[in-house]
Amino acid sequence: MSKNIDINVHHITRVEGHGNITVNVKDGKIEKCEWQVPEAPRFFEAMVRGRRWDDIQTIVSRICGICSISHSFSAIKAVEDALGLEITEQADKIRLLLHYSEQLQSHVLHVGYLVAPDLFGEKSVVPLVPKAPDAVKTIIKAHRVANQWSELIAGRITHPITIIPGGLSRIPTEQQFRDLQNQLKAIVPDLVTICKVVLSVADRLPNFIRETEYVSLAKKGTYAFYHGDITSSDGHTKPVREWESVANEYVHPQSTAKWCKWHRESYATGALARYNNNYRFISPLGKTVADMFGLKPGVCGPFLNNVAQLAEAAHVVEVSIQMIDELLTKGLKNEKVVVKPKAGRGYGAVEAPRGILFHAYEFNKNGECTWGNMCIPTNQNHANIQKDFEKMVPEFMHMGQDGLRQTMEMLVRSYDPCISCSTHFLNVEFV
């Protein structure tokens, strides 16, 4: 076993955005072990100032290309909170359907394109094409269906168009919903196939456990993505309006993105957090997938996040098929949205695929934004990744430099980090 380790991953690959890993071990003693985020900061909180209430989602959707739908929703919910807007039951359902499409798209992309290469010992999905052509094609197909689903409701795949404060600018036709439903029914077997493929290599997921506080939305009776209160696996809850006192953002010297903590030194968000806080309400197919991998509620292994993502992928498809029926039975109505801007501050939260996502804005009486704040799930996970590293390095040092580096990279990837989202806000404590 080597006593000296020098890991310097400059810009970890197959993640959204830029993150670095630095580990220095001398004579078996850890001198440095850091998760660093050098992503170019983007200053969205500063940029939204002066913009109008109905341009906010257009701007902040651009925080992240992968979870642009979640950013738009979180922003719109905050804007609606500030302007005191209610949306109809139909608009709420259609939005939720759209939100599900993003979960499917993102989870398939993450597990299929970014994580699978690790499990198969490849550097990217490209060499997997000749190795497992059917599996890759199935993944591509599921990804395509998810994207078409987003496009149908949002107007395009990335950076949704139709979601506007107060409702939706346009809804699909009944026929389009029917066609979507048929497509969703048709990919259920494909999802099962993907799960089986992952299961066949699941033993490559490192065995690493660390007691963690998991934070997500939760709402009785539903596996919460869009509604609900902020909930911690430690048993705490808070309304969305108080999210700033959950995230407690602070500037960290290792990172251009801010870090967060709630009750402990760090907490985690994401699919596993949602699963741990909502597992009672997962759909039958979601449960089948969880059982397939032996995923028990309450587990604390970051690598199991990937398994929770698969269970959620199955869940959203199954639930959506049913929701389309509910929508169509009621009959689709063309709803016109009329909004009068007013002064106020509002808060919003939804579950992005990679975890809970917070936005908040304040407007003057002309509807111009005077203040904005956002806190993205990856920021909330940074401290937790660091804590994982600190436990992982001594535990996995025996694997040698390359093995350890590979495992640490996989750990970062398992969080599905979306570093490019990284946004920040003032009045924070420096540690």
């Binding site: 500063a46 940029m47 394109y113 168009i161 003032l426 924070v428």
Partner: protein, 248 residues
Amino acid sequence: MTKPRVAIFDFACCEGCQLQIVNLEEEILDLIGTVDVVEWREAMSEQSHDYDIAIIEGSITRLEDEKRIEIIRSRAKILIALGACATIGGVNKLKNNFSITDVKSCVYGKHADMPHLDTYYTKAIDEIVPVDFKVHGCPINGREFAAIVRALLLGKKPFVPDYPVCVECKALENVCRWEYNEPCLGPIIRAGCEAKCPSAGYRCFGCRGYVDHPNVDAAREVIDKYGLSLDDLRTRMVLFGSKQGPTL
């Protein structure tokens, strides 16, 4: 014939444009069949300094990134700017409406001066190095990207519309947003997006940048006819157009 070597790099952006390449879905296998992707951090672990075509996503917001893009330019035969951040600065340019000190202290408060949080005014790629081709949009239109890549591989000048969004919008039989008194930027913004926003019942907010000669003066007069104020238009033109050419 050896396949052209392609590398994809990202700067300050949401990475949504790279995602549109992934979203080519089945077609991406065709793409991989015709070019050698030698570096693409978001999708693969390999890295290389030897490439013919560099595809750049994102805008330049830091001095260190300026150095990096210069190095990339020196290595690439063809440099393609991918998406609004790279072609026109994108929403990142909203930052340029404020002073840098103000922007930094707004976000980082008293830590604004920490060296690793340094930033400066947002620049599009061609404000630093020459760009051979631009793929417009926020995000790019995957189909247009694919057509541009195919044209380049054939040694042909890619077709990029020099006419406004209205052309595509009308062809799709949308009712013009102006008929609902919405300040749509379609008449002055470059087409190629397939008029996605008006088709989804929303006004064009200009993510593809202006056409070569936008008739901005006309916009000034026309706005009156719809009972809107110049301010309504100005605030929209700023979204993707901050300090990048014609503003009212």
